[in-house]
Symmetry: C2
Subunit: 446 residues, 2 copies
C-alpha cells in the first residue's frame, strides 16, 4: 500500500436521521434530537480511487451551518499530500486550525471546530485505508515520537510538556503487544445508554436493563435532571433492575446550577451512581470542581466532556481536579489529533477516559480511540468504559460490533465511518427520500 | 412612540472591508484581517416602517458562515413582538439561545453565539429607535428589576444571584441622574489602539502617539508577542513618545503559553505596562490566573475578554481572580443582555470593565454599554477606559464621536450601527464594487 496521492476535492453532505420521531436520544436539555452528520468525502488523485470519509455529529438544525463551515476549509484541504499528512499529522492539524481569519470564529470551538473534526477524521480515514489498517492499529504502530508530533502543544505545556508525554509513551511502548493481544481477544469494555432515555416508561427501562444484562453489559446510564421525584423513582427502577453489583451512571445534560447539582445528586445517592455526568454548563470548570467536592464524599464521581470544546478546557478540568471521568468526544474535539492530546493529558493526571458516544458514528470512532488509549497511553482498563448506544449503526458499511459488553476490535481498514450509499442518498437533508416522505406526511415539520 | 409591531422579515448581509491591504489591525495572531460584519436588518409591520439593525464582527473569511447561522435563527425571530421583547427581553434572549437542536453547535459559543449577538443587538436597536432614545438612555431608564430580568441567570448563581444583583442596582439607582449628567458633560474615557499595531514602523508609532496626545488620549495600546527584542524596542519607543505619566497597555493576542507569558511580560516591565492583554488562550482561565499571579508583583494587571465566549467563562475569570480588567465584547457575547450579565458579575467582583472595541461597529456598541455600566452598575470610573480605534466609522449613519479622549454620549436613537446604504452596497461580499474592483486588480485574492 502506498501513501501516494493528493486531495483533489472535498464533498460535504448534510445527512440527518429523524430520531425525534421516537424518544430515543431524549434528555433534559435535548428534547427532540434528529441525529445528524456533516459528512465529508475527500477525493484523491490516486490510481486506486481511494477516498477519505469523515463526519462530525450534530442533532439536527444547524447541521447545514457545520456543512458550510466545512466548505470554508476547502482551500486549506485541496492539494494536501497524503504522504505529508502521514509524515507530520500535527503540522497538518495546525494548518487546518490556523487560518488567520477563520480562527476569529472560535478560536478552536463551536461550529468551526466541529467542521475541522470532520476533515481531520477523514484524513486519518484515508491514511488508515491507504495502509490497510483499522485506525486503532495505525495509531498503535506509530512511534512515541510520532504520537507526540501529532499534538498541538500550544497552551498545554503548563500541564504537560512534549518531553513528559514522550517519556510516558516510551515507558509503555515495550508492553504494547501484550495489551494489543488482550484487546484482540476480549475487546474494550462498553456500557449502554440505550436503557435510560428520559422519555422511556419505567417498564421499558426495566425491560431494556434486562436485555442489557443478557447482552453482557455491567454499566447502565440513566438520564436525569427534568424532575427530581421522577428521577428518584426511575433510578430506583434501574437499580432494582440491574441489581446491587452492576454500575449505574446518571447524566443531567447540563441542567443545573452548582448548588442545585450537589443537592439533586445527593438526593439520588441511595441508588449509588458511579458518576454524575454533565451536571452543569460544560464551560464551568470551577463549577464542576465545586460539584466534585460536594458529591465525592458520597462515593459519586463527576464526568463531563461531550460538550468540552477543546484540549485547553480539558486541561483545566484536569488541573482543577474537577472530573473523575474524562469523556472525550471524537467530533467535538477536532478529530484524532486533539483526542490524542486529551488522552495524554488525562494519563498525566491519572484520570480515566470514558469516551462519549451514541449519536451517529461516534461509537464507530471512539472504539479506535479507546483501544489506542489502552495499548499506548493509559495502559490500564481500571475505571475505563466506553459508551455504546445501539442505534443507527445499520447505516455504516462497517459498523462497530459490541459483543458480551465489549467493543470488538475493528478489522476493516479505516475508521468504520463510511456510510452506505443508499443511507447517504435517502437521508440527505432536505431532499432525501426519508425527508421528502416525512414532509409529505406532516407538512409543517421543518 | 409606540412599541407596536412584529418582526416580519430578517435580512442578512455579508459585509467586508479590505483592511488587510494596509496593516491596520495586524497583531501577533491575526496577520491580515479584513474587518467584516454579518449585518442584520429586522423588518417590522409597523406603519412607520421602523427596522432594527444589528451586526456581529468577524475578520473576513467565515463571515458567510456566521451569516448562515443568523439565517438559521430566522424561525425563532419571525413573529416576535416588540412589545413582548420590551416587556421581557430576558425571556426573548432565552428563546433565541434555547433551540434544542441548534444549541449542540455551541452551546452559547462560537459561530452560533456570534450570530445570536447580531439578532439580539438588532432587537435592542429596534426598541431604542421605537422609543426615540440612544441605547444607553433606554438602558439607564430601566428599573433595577427590569435589568435583572434581562439576564439569563442559569449557571451564574454560584457567583451572583438575581437578588444580589437587584440590591446592587437599587443601591445605585438614586444617584443615576448625577452620573448621567456627568457623562453628558464629559463623555466616557477612551483609549487608543490606533498607534500600536504590529506592522507599524517605529516612526509611525511615534507620530501616532503624538497625534493621540494631541487628541486628548492618556492611554495607548501596543501589540506585542511576535518577537521579544522587537517588542522591547517598540515599547521603549512608545513609552518615550507618551512620557512617564500616560499609560501604556500591551496586547499579545493569545500568543503565549503560561510560563512564556510571565517571562516575556517580565522582560517588558521596565516600560511599565498597565496591563497585559490576552497573554494566552482565551479559554485558559487557570492559565490567566497563573499569569496574573506572576506579573502582578511587577505592577502589571491581566486583561482579557475579546475572545471570551460567554458569561460562564467571564464568571470563572472573576472567581479565579484571573483578570484585573474585564474586556467584554459587544458581539462575541450574545448581545446587550449577556453584556449586562457580565457587567453585573464584574461589579460584584470589583473588577473594572474596559470593553474591547475597534473592528467595525464595536466602538459604536460599547460606548452605550460603558455609559450604562457607569451610571447603573459600577458607579465608578476608577480603572475604567474603553477602547477606541479610529477606522471604518465613516460607514455608519451615526458614527461614534470621540473628543478630547472621551466618547461623547450618543444622542441618535438606537445603537449607532445602521450602515450607510452605499457602504452596504459597495462592501457586500463577494459582489460589491469594492470586492469586484479588488478581484479585477488582483485575480487571486479570495
Amino acid at each position: 500500500m502506498s501513501l501516494s496521492g493528493r486531495i483533489t476535492d472535498i464533498h460535504v453532505h448534510d445527512v440527518r436521521f429523524p430520531t425525534s420521531l421516537a424518544l430515543d436520544g431524549s434528555d433534559a436539555m435535548n428534547a427532540d434530537p434528529d441525529y445528524s452528520a456533516a459528512y465529508v468525502v475527500l477525493e484523491t488523485d490516486r490510481t486506486d480511487g481511494l477516498a477519505g470519509h469523515g463526519l462530525t455529529f450534530t442533532i439536527g438544525r444547524g447541521n447545514d451551518i457545520v456543512a458550510a463551515a466545512i466548505a470554508s476549509l476547502r482551500p486549506l484541504v485541496i492539494g494536501l499530500s497524503l504522504a505529508d499528512f502521514a509524515a507530520t499529522p500535527g503540522a497538518t492539524w495546525k494548518h487546518l486550525t490556523g487560518d488567520s481569519q477563520l480562527r476569529w470564529l472560535g478560536p478552536e470551538k463551536g461550529v468551526i471546530h466541529l467542521a475541522t473534526a470532520a476533515v481531520v477524521n477523514a484524513l486519518w480515514d484515508l491514511w488508515a485505508k491507504a495502509v490497510d489498517k483499522p485506525l486503532w492499529k495505525l495509531l498503535v504502530d506509530l512511534s512515541p515520537a510520532q504520537i507526540v508530533e501529532m499534538v498541538d502543544w500550544r497552551y498545554l505545556t503548563d500541564a504537560l510538556t512534549p518531553d513528559e508525554a514522550l517519556a510516558m509513551l516510551e515507558k509503555l511502548a515495550p508492553t504494547r503487544a501484550t495489551r494489543e493481544a488482550e484487546i484482540l481477544a476480549r475487546g474494550y469494555p462498553a456500557y449502554t445508554t440505550s436503557a435510560g432515555w428520559l422519555g422511556y416508561e419505567d417498564e421499558k427501562i426495566r425491560r431494556l436493563c434486562a436485555e442489557g444484562i443478557e447482552q453482557g453489559f455491567t454499566h447502565f446510564k440513566l438520564k436525569v435532571g427534568a424532575d427530581r421525584a421522577d428521577d428518584l423513582r426511575r433510578a430506583r427502577v434501574m437499580r432494582d433492575a440491574i441489581g446491587p453489583d452492576r454500575a449505574m451512571m446518571i447524566d443531567a445534560n447540563q441542567r443545573w446550577d452548582v448548588d442545585v447539582a450537589i443537592d439533586w445528586v445527593t438526593s439520588l445517592a441511595e441508588c449509588r451512581p458511579l458518576w454524575i455526568e454533565e451536571p452543569t454548563s460544560p464551560d464551568d470548570i470551577l463549577g464542576h470542581a465545586a460539584i466534585a467536592r460536594g458529591v465525592r464524599p458520597l462515593g459519586i464521581g463527576v464526568a463531563t466532556g461531550e460538550h468540552c470544546q477543546n484540549r485547553v478546557m480539558f486541561k483545566q478540568l484536569l488541573q482543577a481536579d474537577a472530573i473523575d471521568f474524562c469523556q472525550i468526544d471524537s467530533c467535538r474535539l477536532a478529530g484524532v489529533n486533539e483526542v490524542v492530546a486529551v488522552l495524554l493529558l488525562a494519563a498525566k493526571f491519572n484520570t480515566p477516559v470514558c469516551p462519549h458516544a451514541g449519536g451517529v458514528g461516534l461509537c464507530e470512532y471512539v472504539q479506535h480511540e479507546s483501544i489506542f488509549d489502552y495499548i499506548c497511553v493509559s495502559g490500564s482498563l481500571d475505571g475505563r468504559i466506553t459508551e455504546f448506544v445501539d442505534h443507527l449503526h445499520e447505516h455504516f458499511v462497517d459498523p462497530c460490533v459490541v459483543r458480551d459488553g465489549h467493543y470488538v476490535a475493528p478489522t476493516a481498514p479505516g475508521t468504520n465511518i463510511t456510510l452506505k450509499p443508499e443511507s447517504l442518498t435517502t437521508h440527505t437533508f432536505p431532499d432525501g427520500q426519508v425527508w421528502r416522505d416525512l414532509r409529505a406526511n406532516a407538512p409543517l415539520r421543518s
